[in-house]
């Protein structure tokens, strides 16, 4: 039922629990617990994918995340589709849809396979040498062709409906990997009382115990011991065990990123479950028990479907109960592959031969092979294979020459030995060291508080691994202050100790430059390509990698790196460590963007800040604009009004009657203490000690380099208390800027700062009827012109609520800004509105605010200034104290280029045709007929239709602007040139009488 190659009595899956999915439309019967790879193999499907460059048929190489070939597209529904999934990692579930990738029209017949025939032309780096003529053809012809042929899966095109979660976690000891080593270490640390997190990428703990059935620990089978140990750990309060969880990145200061796959194996996941959960772990200590990965053998045509790693075949048999073939060959340079042959043989599979590249395999495995009647060809190599969509035979020859013998097979298992997984160690910035005796890179110098144990540390032997791991677990627990527990002891035994291993091309990979002996399967990098790279002068392993793309595929060189290095080493005749190792970078295996962003999507992507009056504004039809994180009412269109209509109406209304404006987003800082005035003297260009309580002043803040940083109105509430306002966008940085100077430059000053931006809702009431609107609502403040003149502040009540009432104006009209505690904002707004509306007032938004202030020539920092403008450039020289001996920016202002003639200065611009509104950002020239590049004198910073003036108005930064008043300049646009006259910046009420109205 679940596949013809399922062997009764083998494996750990339950035959009664079945699942069904489709592969390229064909129904596949599987068992719950199968991976796509094991299910396909059980059903005799070996052809699973096509390679990247030559589109060669490819099968399943591995049983783990190192898989380079069997990449598939997995979907639950149209929007839940995931390309480039590793078939040996993806667990099956009922109803899943699996498609092969990178083939057209079908997996068995792929037109792209032509590339394989053309491969002599497509040698490594060929594209650097051609496609140069004609010039435009690269982008128009060659590149689109290459792009279409490359790539693997197809990107999702719909928004991902799944959600993802994040968890920050802290622990004493994080253990990465839950094989023998990791479980032992976690157990020892946990028994000592440490807060432990144990993670493993597989659905169940056990690591190599999944396939290595010869291991016994504490008298149990290794796999059973692992499950029992995990159960014990899970029951402990101080331990978190996470399976299906990959430690993908090891960052600074023992910060480790984990990704937990929560639902990808479930047929009908609960909608509440996140698809994946990101764990951001800060561990006091880390134990790396990441094991090792078996390498393939490099020989001619080593990539046919049916050729796979020996340990993978063992996993498929011992865990999934699947025989990967019926007549299986083995090609190895390592003892471990023999055990695959033994297991398969015992399960009834024919072993065609074990071809051992070595003259002398380990005695124990040799003896056992003979006992089982398996032919062993020592000192031999597989020099070629045959079989179009699945391997059908191997050619075997004695090393050093001699005639080849063809042996019929339907699967070929290979092992060139084991590569310790030092990825996380290396990501932690530890330095690996090459162990020449065993031909491995092993952890050398540690950079962080971590230890490697087990085979990733080069520890061979089960008992040695257990003892090392227990000791490490205890040591790390003790180092983090845990005193509990007793010393643990565990005994392990296994059938065979493994020896051997090789790196690089075996015999039969050929120095022949036409042989395809694959080093990197996915990227189709062959031994000959590496040799070519070296011939072309690529002597650094990084150059070799980049020139050939070896190790740059989705498996990031887990299988290919060491082979590539060994081949380069041989050609260059230099030892491996002299060629170097490419840097291991996170992630260990690819991680979805969704998991990495976790909650940061939709409303949680970025906070949308709303003022206390937002609901009213929304209800009254406001259109909002984004200003920093804030949503601000932009304008209030009435039925049938365009933006232009609405803004014109609002502008007229404010000047003729009055308007209400939500100014709550302006930054506010309470500056309190006996030295408050002295502090502000240093922070602003103006003088503050002369400001009387109850009065306000407009202040300019500079950076130390003399350029305008922020501005705002500051009110003095008492001798020792100021209410400072900042621009909306500038609020946080101004606060930080002030704290910086206060704490580090002027710590002797007795003054404290508190952000009060959000304490106050601010309602600006502006216009000739402003006083009439407010007067009856205000208690305890005489707001008459005499008692409360322009630029004053008082504390009192409005509608029974405490208020800080400012008499100030950013419109040029008589105006007030009503500050009330934020929770009362909407109620007070409504109360004011109830009086304002019958008097003909309107609510206005930021656009009208911009127009009105421009009519008065008031600048907006960040729009009319850009970080290169001094107060003098902005005609604000009057606000720079001449008496003070110090303020931030005093020296910067005097630098040669800041006092030079001809600087860009802020001026007004009037178009000759009053109906033409300039575009903001448009550039200004003196000679419109000058050829390009033209000399640009400056640009338009603000430009509006002014309904009140009945014409357009603009502000601009113009070189030597003040000296050009009255001059005609030009604004060349794509379709015409606009003539403008340089003018003063005040367009309405030049005398300022309305302010005091």
């Amino acid at each position: 039922m679940s596949g013809a190659n399922r062997i009764a009595g083998q494996g750990r899956l339950t035959p009664a629990k079945t699942a069904r999915f489709t592969f390229d439309g064909k129904t596949i019967d599987a068992l719950v617990g199968d991976t796509v790879a094991s299910a396909l193999l059980a059903n005799g499907v070996h052809l699973v994918g096509r390679s990247f460059k030559y589109h060669r048929p490819r099968g399943i190489l591995s049983a783990g995340p190192e898989e380079p070939n069997a990449l598939i597209d997995v979907s639950r529904d149209a929007a839940r589709r995931q390309p480039n999934v590793r078939a040996p990692v993806q667990e099956v579930f009922d109803g899943m849809k699996v498609e092969s990738q990178n083939r057209f029209p079908s997996l068995a017949f792929d037109i792209g396979g032509i590339n394989n025939l053309l491969s002599p032309f497509f040698a490594a780096g060929f594209y650097y040498k051609t496609f140069m003529w004609p010039k435009a053809a690269w982008e128009k012809v060659y590149e689109p062709f290459i792009r279409k042929a490359a790539g693997l899966g197809v990107s999702p095109t719909e928004e991902d409906p799944d959600h993802y979660a994040n968890r920050y976690a802290h622990c004493d000891v994080l253990v990465a990997g839950a094989g023998v080593a990791g479980l032992s270490a976690a157990l020892a640390a946990a028994e000592a009382g440490a807060r432990v997190i144990l993670v493993d990428e597989q659905p169940e703990v056990g690591g190599a115990l999944h396939f290595d059935t010869s291991v016994k620990i504490d008298g149990q089978s290794g796999y059973d011991w692992a499950q029992a140990t995990a159960a014990k750990l899970k029951a402990m309060e101080n331990v978190t065990v996470l399976t299906r969880t990959t430690a993908f990145g090891y960052y600074n200061h023992n910060f480790v990123g984990l990704v937990e796959r929560v639902t990808d194996h479930l047929p009908k996941p609960d909608k509440k479950l996140p698809r994946e959960r990101l764990w951001q772990v800060r561990a006091k200590r880390v134990i790396l028990a990441t094991g090792s990965i078996e390498r393939h053998m490099v020989f001619a045509n080593n990539d046919r479907p049916g050729i796979m790693l020996a340990s993978a075949a063992r996993t498929y048999l011992n865990h999934f109960g699947v025989a990967v073939g019926r007549k299986v060959g083995v090609y190895t340079a390592n003892d471990s592959a023999y055990e695959a042959a033994f297991d398969l043989k015992r399960a009834g599979v024919t072993i065609a031969a074990i071809v051992d590249n070595r003259d002398k395999p380990g005695d124990a495995v040799l003896t056992e092979a003979r006992r089982l009647g398996i032919e062993v060809l020592t000192g031999h190599s597989v020099i070629d294979t045959k079989g179009k969509l699945r391997v059908s035979s191997m050619s075997v020859a004695r090393n050093g020459g001699g005639s080849a013998r063809s042996i019929a097979i339907d699967a070929l298992l290979m092992s060139a030995g084991w590569t310790p997984s030092v990825h996380l160690f290396s990501q932690s910035r530890g330095k690996v060291a090459y162990d020449a005796a065993t031909g491995r890179f092993l952890p050398g110098t540690y950079a962080q508080d971590c230890l490697s144990v087990g085979s990733c540390n080069g520890t061979d032997g089960l008992q040695a691994t257990i003892e090392e791991s227990l000791a490490a677990g205890e040591l790390m627990a003790r180092a983090t202050g845990n005193e509990g527990g007793n010393k643990l002891e565990l005994s392990g035994e296994n059938a065979f100790e493994w020896t051997g291993g090789m790196a690089g091309a075996a015999e039969g990979a050929g120095i022949d430059t036409t042989v395809k002996a694959f080093v990197d399967f996915q990227n189709d990098v062959c031994a000959k390509d590496i040799r070519l790279a070296v011939r072309e002068g690529m002597h650094s392993i990084e150059h070799i990698k980049r020139f050939t793309t070896n190790g740059m595929a989705t498996d990031q060189g887990k299988l290919s790196n060491i082979h590539g290095l060994a081949i380069a080493s041989e050609v260059l005749n230099r030892e491996i460590p002299k060629i170097g190792l490419t840097t291991f970078r996170a992630p260990y295996t690819p991680v979805t963007f969704g998991a990495l962003i976790s909650h940061s999507r939709g409303d949680l992507f970025d906070p949308a800040r709303k003022t206390p009056m937002h609901a009213w504004e929304e209800a009254h039809g406001a259109v909002f604009e984004d200003v920093g994180n804030w949503k601000r009412a932009w304008y209030y269109p009435r039925s049938g009004e365009t933006m232009h209509d609405a803004v014109n109406r609002e502008c007229r209304t404010v000047r003729n009657a009055a308007g209400l404006f939500d100014a709550s987003t302006l930054g506010k800082i309470e500056v309190v203490g006996p030295d408050a005035a002295e502090f502000l003297n240093l922070m602003y260009t103006n003088a503050w000690d002369t400001l009387k309580p109850g009065r306000c002043r407009y202040g300019i803040m500079l950076r130390e380099d003399g350029f305008v940083y922020d501005d705002g109105v500051v009110g003095r509430l008492a001798e020792d208390r100021f209410h400072v306002t900042t621009t909306t966008g500038g609020a946080p940085r101004v606060m930080n800027h002030m704290e910086d100077y206060l704490q580090t430059e002027f710590p002797h000053l007795k003054v404290w700062l508190t952000s009060t931006t959000e304490q106050w809702a601010v309602i600006a009431v502006q216009g000739p009827k402003a006083r009439e609107i407010l007067e009856p609502l205000v208690e305890g403040i005489d707001i008459s012109n005499e008692a409360f003149p322009h630029m004053s502040v008082r504390e009192g009540k409005i509608c029974g609520v405490p208020t800080r009432l400012f008499r100030m104006s950013f419109t040029g009209e008589a105006g007030y800004e009503v500050n009330v505690p934020a929770d009362y904002g909407q109620a007070i707004w409504e109360a004011i509105w109830a009086r304002a509306e019958p008097l003909g007032a309107c609510a206005y938004g930021t656009e009208t605010m911009h127009v009105l202030r421009a009519e008065k020539g008031y600048i907006i920092v960040g729009q009319d200034t850009d970080g290169t403008v001094t107060p003098y450039d902005a005609s604000l020289g009057w606000a720079v104290s001449k008496k003070k001996t110090d303020f931030v920016g005093i020296r910067g202002l005097k630098r040669p280029d800041l006092v030079k003639e001809g600087r860009k200065q802020l001026v007004g611009l009037l178009t000759k045709d009053p109906n033409v509104v300039l575009e903001e950002g448009a550039q200004i020239v003196a000679d419109p007929n000058e050829p390009k590049p033209m000399k640009m004198l400056g640009h338009v910073t603000s430009s509006y239709w002014s309904e009140n003036c009945g014409r357009s108005i603009a502000m601009a930064l113009v070189a030597g602007g003040q000296a050009r008043l009255g001059q005609t300049l030009y604004v060349p646009m794509p379709d015409r040139t606009i003539a403008v006259e340089v003018s003063e910046m005040v367009f309405v009420d030049k005398e300022g009488g309305r302010l005091n109205g």
């Binding site: 990107s155 650094s540 963007f593």
Partner: protein, 417 residues
Amino acid sequence: MRKYSVFAVAREAMRGHKGWEAQWTSPEPRKEYDVIIVGGGGHGLGAAYYLAKEHGITNIAVIEKGWLGGGNTGRNTTIIRSNYLYDESMDIYEHSLKLWEGLSQDLNYNVMYSPRGVMMLSHNVHDKQSFQRHVHANRLYGIDNEWLTPQQAKEFVPVLDISASARYPINGAALQRRGGTARHDAVAWGYARAASDRGVHVIQNCEVKGIRRGPDGAVTGVETSKGFIGAKKVAVSASGHNSVILSMADVKLPLHSVPLQALVSEPMKPIFPCVVMSNSVHAYISQSDKGELVIGAGTDQYNSYSQTGGLQIITHTLDAICELFPMFRRVKMMRQWGGITDNTPDRSAIQGVTPVKNLFVNCGWGTGGFKATPGSAHLFAYLIAKGEPHRLAAGLTLDRFRTGRLIDEAAAAAVAH
């Protein structure tokens, strides 16, 4: 040197590619050179090439601590554009872009310059003002850069979400069609091959340990891990490490070096046609010829020479990418990495003489040096040969930090570029 061509490739294909020679030679250093260039990245190798080609100086060594192109040349996201704001910036980047347009042919090396367009998304009124200022300035200078409506932007990049319901809706975009990408390694290799062909010595694994000066204070050569090498002129172009090298001659620079991170996704079939940048949501993205989405992240906040950075920088960038392109949430990050960028206070480069005679510096390209490679190299060669800056690089001199004549692209480049 054998010319690269389709015919050469075909000929070699017939004989197993046995005839290719080393792209550059790796000789032992001479006792003395006319010019030593410190830093074997694109800028340094390019300067050597142009010195040889245009100024007749061939007795040159390019000294590289690691492997050619192993610094920021080989670590960036390969964006090329010239739509900068200030004259000084337009001068250099447009000069560079013009050289990019003929670089493959000039070097006889396909650097895969691909003018697929660089689109900068505008999300609010402030963005629009700023981008239109760029568009107009570029137009009057003679640089292509056009303003697109949201609909026009979507026609160019079909995967763009221009709905009003986005957190930061798109209200337009600036597009430079001549902008695009190139193959970063090929730039280093192409210059190295062409320079080597003209007699330049390319010396790898040679670390500069000191700068020697004569009695008159002028440089006389460099101490290296391969011993002392004399030089009449020393030119430093060692991105990320310029402060360290220049400090050997007691020259202090207005630089701070910070890690800049980037990442690629797994390869996928073509879905993304050009480069898209967004300053407001802090993201930039393109798709490589291999099919990987290439995504630039931000810089870490602290000085570091570590070529690594924090995960939060990556996640922050991906937040923005997935906000702009929600279909990419199921795409996987395959590899992240970092480079060391040296940044100036005004985010514009420094190229010029130093207080030490015959010591020249090219630094401070920050997060955007790749696009400048040919232009910077070409003008740096002029500076080294003539002893004074070329007209197009005259604004990049060091004295602007004394006088205050800053080229403040910082505001325009709030996001790494």
